[in-house]
């Protein structure tokens, strides 16, 4: 499983990257994309939608199944990666580059895990 040190991790298998000015970028982890298999559809939210911590904001469908993506933060979506709508397989190719949304006005966030902690956690779940 690929891990990156410049992001933080949620137990629901999302990664969060701070972009500065209170904006964060959210995607799903490499572990999550591997567990899902080939992703063929993503139901993206819209800009200005509010996201709530521990609540789904989007769903991804692999050939096998559908899976909710949870927001690790509470805030307002300021950007959506529309490229994924046409090519959701980008998440399989590079989960940490294929961000899904950017969120501003972050009011609240989960207790994040470090890369090392997440690795231990994910291995226990696997």
């Amino acid at each position: 499983m690929e891990l990156r040190d410049n992001v933080k991790y949620a137990k629901t298998h999302e990664w969060v990257k701070e972009l500065g000015d209170g904006v964060v970028e959210i995607g799903i982890t490499d572990f999550a994309q591997d567990a899902l298999g080939d992703i063929v559809f993503i139901n993206l939210p819209e800009v200005d939608d509010e996201v709530v911590m521990e609540t789904p904001f989007c769903d991804v469908e692999s050939v096998k199944a559908v899976s909710d993506v949870y927001s690790p933060v509470t805030g307002v979506i300021c950007q959506v990666n529309e490229e994924l709508a046409d090519n959701p397989a980008l998440i399989n190719e590079s989960a940490f580059d294929a961000w899904i949304i950017r969120v501003k006005d972050v009011k609240e966030h989960e207790d994040f895990l470090s890369a090392e902690e997440y690795e231990t956690f994910a291995n226990e779940e696997a």
Binding site: G37, D38, V40, F41, N43, D59, E61, S62, V63, K64, V66, N92
Partner: protein, 361 residues
Amino acid sequence: MELKTPIYDYHVELGGKIVPFGGFLLPVQYKTGVIAEHKAVREKAGLFDVSHMGEILITGRDALANVNMLLTNDFTVMEDGRCRYSPMCNEEGGIVDDLIVYKIKDECYLIIVNASNTDKDFAWMTAHAFGDVKMENISEQAAQAALQGPLAREIMTRVCRAEELPEKYYTFTREMEVGGIPCLVSRTGYTGEAGYEIYCAAERGEELFRLLLEAGKDLGLIPCGLGARDTLRLEAAMPLYGHEMSDEITPAEADLGFAVKMNKDDFIGKKALEEKGPAARKRVGLRITGRGIAREHCDVYIEDRKVGETTSGTFCPHLNHAVAMALLETSSASVGTSVSVDVRGRRIEAEVVSLPFYKRA
């Protein structure tokens, strides 16, 4: 507790992602992933472990009479070495299982049933047995591999005598060697592609799987899991028990009327099917035209009126769009009908299309 097929250890060695299915631990996919595995079968060849399928042997002087009573299809006129598909109905005309009968010879029939139904089927068959007949559940003695795809024949000819291979669809060769292993080989499959299903003794299953993979490696043969098996059968519109069929769905509703011979003297379920008359609902194909994927058990609407429910659905890698099969009321089931499907509270557009979604050129 799930069983392991004789090829289990090799799946793990190959990097298969193991899941429980029909009482067995089987790979849902290998490292290549469902899409690559699906495409390999459509374009080259794929190898599946289908050892989980059940095998029931029916022998004796009244074997034919029993088979004809248990099953809806007619087996009276059938040459040795032929396969024939049939639903098996309950007294109400619902489907107990769908299966394939191999006629080994007179008074000897091999029946291939769905893994998860093996015990139920065997109990049903033995409960309805009559006369001079012996029924044996030999599922644990057999391993089965399915080699499917346009290059399947070329691969087989590398490990067996080409002239022994069954040529016609739904025929089989009972005793032949594949890489030195005694096998039964049939021209059957569950992918909509040309190919073979190869049966051998359980203890030689792994050896068979290995030698077939090796024989086809340079031609692009890869091992394929349950995920691709499902997307392939769906694309080819082959029904799956528990989805398009159940003990409450009749063969006519599942569009399997071709395998029900109402002119036979009698079979279990015949009376109920006669009384039911024309089917009030029918299995159809849906092409999803909106954005999203409909899976099973999604309600199907015409405007605000519910007209049925999906039974299976997925994204089809070869067609590159989502499809579903659904049971719709007959009056709303004609090709070209526009419907919408409720996918987790969101309506997506779809159209009734003719089946199969994919047909081999």
